[in-house]
Subunit: 358 residues, 2 copies
């Protein structure tokens, strides 16, 4: 896409901002959004920041029928001194293009998108909450809009970025969560869309989440589609195991989403001289480590929670308590370091944070 | 849902109807649509027929992000004498509820929906083309509409039925199609959403379709996700094989969509004393039959094409021609009989057609 002038149409009717205490995940949206359209004969065009507004969509718009869509999720933090930080945003646009490739959606210009995102976040800076643990959640998304029931890639798309102030994931402190190991429903198979961030992967997981909830567990641990034996992810997070002093995580195999927090944790631990073993990990092996007393920690990684310690695993009607249901020291160290870097309380030796001049 | 009065708001601005020769698949829509809303605290409510119109959707509407949606596809035929026929519509609403179950979408009242559909089709009867091979395509659909980025089933939905006059699938007579046997990309895995008619399954198939097209083949033949060995479906059709005088089709295994044409073909062949073997069929077996000269016919079944003969199969860079690239006698007989029953030219001994009084 050729550089095109970003049009900015400011809202004249600003909304009241919710109180920090009322914040939930993705419930409130800011005054403005970014939009851009794609047409097969014109490419991506008309980048614009406009008042947050409903879309007018024909019932035949392809997204409703054939689900061709991708999205991203990242956060902006604002410190009390007014500084705004984004965490590795270029990774999100890179992953978005990777997802789009799988879904036959045309790629975006990653650098340009980052520029537009920065403009949008600067415009909405008063919306970034500053209470500890709060942040501005950023949702870039592409939907297919062609008005046709033909089962084929759309010729038109809309790219949007919407922003939502979100509360602390850990309002009552970090409590390790219970995990239900799902061995019937499948999230993703080799050759499927598991490593793309696309809508269909998420609704497909609701039935398993229902089973987890019915078992009083917070999240689902997904096993591989083929043998229902190897660990893939936990809910919308990647997962790490500390076994006998070493950290292990499932290797990216094509059906696991390539988490940016996962990548950061691996780089951080490398830096701390605790290299992570990326490999195939079977559930049997985890249970054996538990029996042997060497399963020291389990934790999930993702943008929403950053680090989410796991306190128990339910597998085939057996419950396995991890680290006495307490957060482990590695999870704690990772959490503090990542949150510290993201919010600017700690130095960022990696160049992960992108500062926005206010 | 309690019986609620169907509200009918007639359009005052009727659109010109496209000429039969211009018809394509799902390109033109009629003057009216059916709509109904769901809210967790109220159930399905406000059934109404309204002018065909765009939807107003918040960018945060769940369908754009997590893809929770289901749909159906069936046809209405109108004979020159004005009679309108639907083909097994109750099966579509039954399958829709089955799909909804998998996607954690609340069920609809199947009988009521059929009543509403009849009203809608009667109102739009002038839109049903009458040229041989044409029909009115009916697309019932449910989309999730809650305005939240929370990864969980929506609390609100919209059910719609839109109608599209469609041209003949076989404008230039029935020409058998070439098929590309896909052995990398996966359509559906056990425990996934393959036997639900939901958006995410369709966009996930575009990459494989690209490969088929690049190989000059019209459609993809899908293999099972686990061993990439057993035959599942062809494009958006179920598939049948005539080997040594006997008809075989893959058994419904949870990842195959339960086609209504498939079911009708099985019932019809049963009636004709040619029972169908529903079983696991490997690609190797089909190739072996081809080599032995016993692979007599291959054909797909689905609402769009009814019966689609397969003229060749490309598998691992080898091309296997079926029946000299000609339509076989069983496919021909099935096509004529089904189309005959659907359009009313032949008697319907099965009670499959639903007649609408004009
Ligand atoms: C399925 C899935 N896995 C893992 C992750 C974690 O990725 P990230 O660390 O980039 O947020 C996410 C969330 O983005 C996800 O949706
Ligand atoms: C994936 C898939 N398989 C098979 C079919 C055939 O089903 P039916 O005969 O009900 O049209 C369809 C189309 O509806 C489909 O989408």
């Amino acid at each position: 896409m050729a550089q095109q002038t970003l049009e900015v149409l400011q809202s004249t009717d600003l909304k009241p901002k919710p109180d920090s205490s009322e914040l939930a995940f993705g419930k409130y949206f800011t005054d403005h959004m970014f939009m851009m359209d794609y047409a097969a004969d014109k490419g991506w065009q008309r980048p614009r920041i406009v008042p947050y507004q409903p879309l007018t969509m024909d019932p035949s718009a392809m997204v409703f029928h054939y689900g061709q869509t991708v999205f991203e999720g990242l956060k902006a933090y604002r410190m009390s001194d007014g500084d705004i930080r984004l965490f590795r945003p270029e990774e999100n646009f890179k992953r978005m293009n990777h997802s789009s490739e799988r879904l036959s959606i045309p790629p975006i210009d990653e650098d340009l998108m980052l520029d537009y995102l920065k403009e949008l976040v600067k415009l909405e800076k008063e919306w970034i909450p500053t209470e500890p643990g709060t942040s501005l959640y950023i949702r870039p998304m592409i939907i297919s809009t062609e008005e046709s029931l033909n089962v084929a890639p759309s010729n038109t798309y809309t790219f949007m970025i919407i922003l939502s102030p979100v509360g602390s994931f850990y309002k009552e402190g970090i409590n390790p969560v219970g995990i239900f190991v799902e061995d019937e429903y499948t999230r993703a198979a080799p050759g499927g869309t598991g490593n793309a961030k696309t809508a269909g992967n998420y609704c497909a997981a609701y039935k398993a989440q229902e089973r987890a909830t019915a078992n009083n567990k917070a999240q689902v641990l997904w096993l591989d589609a083929i043998e229902k034996k190897y660990i893939e992810e936990v809910g919308s997070m990647n997962v790490f195991f500390k076994i006998d002093g070493e950290i292990h995580t499932p290797v990216l195999n094509g059906s696991i989403l390539e988490g940016i927090t996962r990548k950061s944790v691996i780089e951080l631990l490398e830096h701390l001289e605790m290299p992570v073993q990326e490999r195939q990990i079977s559930m049997d092996e985890v249970i054996a480590a538990h029996e042997a007393g060497t399963l020291q920690e389990v934790f999930g990684t993702g943008t929403a929670a950053v680090i989410s310690p796991v306190g128990s695993l339910q597998y085939k009607d057996q419950d396995y308590v991890v680290n006495n249901g307490k957060m482990g020291e590695t999870a704690k160290q990772l959490y503090e370091t990542l949150i510290g870097i993201q919010t600017g309380r700690l130095k960022d030796p990696f160049g992960w944070t992108v500062m926005l001049e206010a």
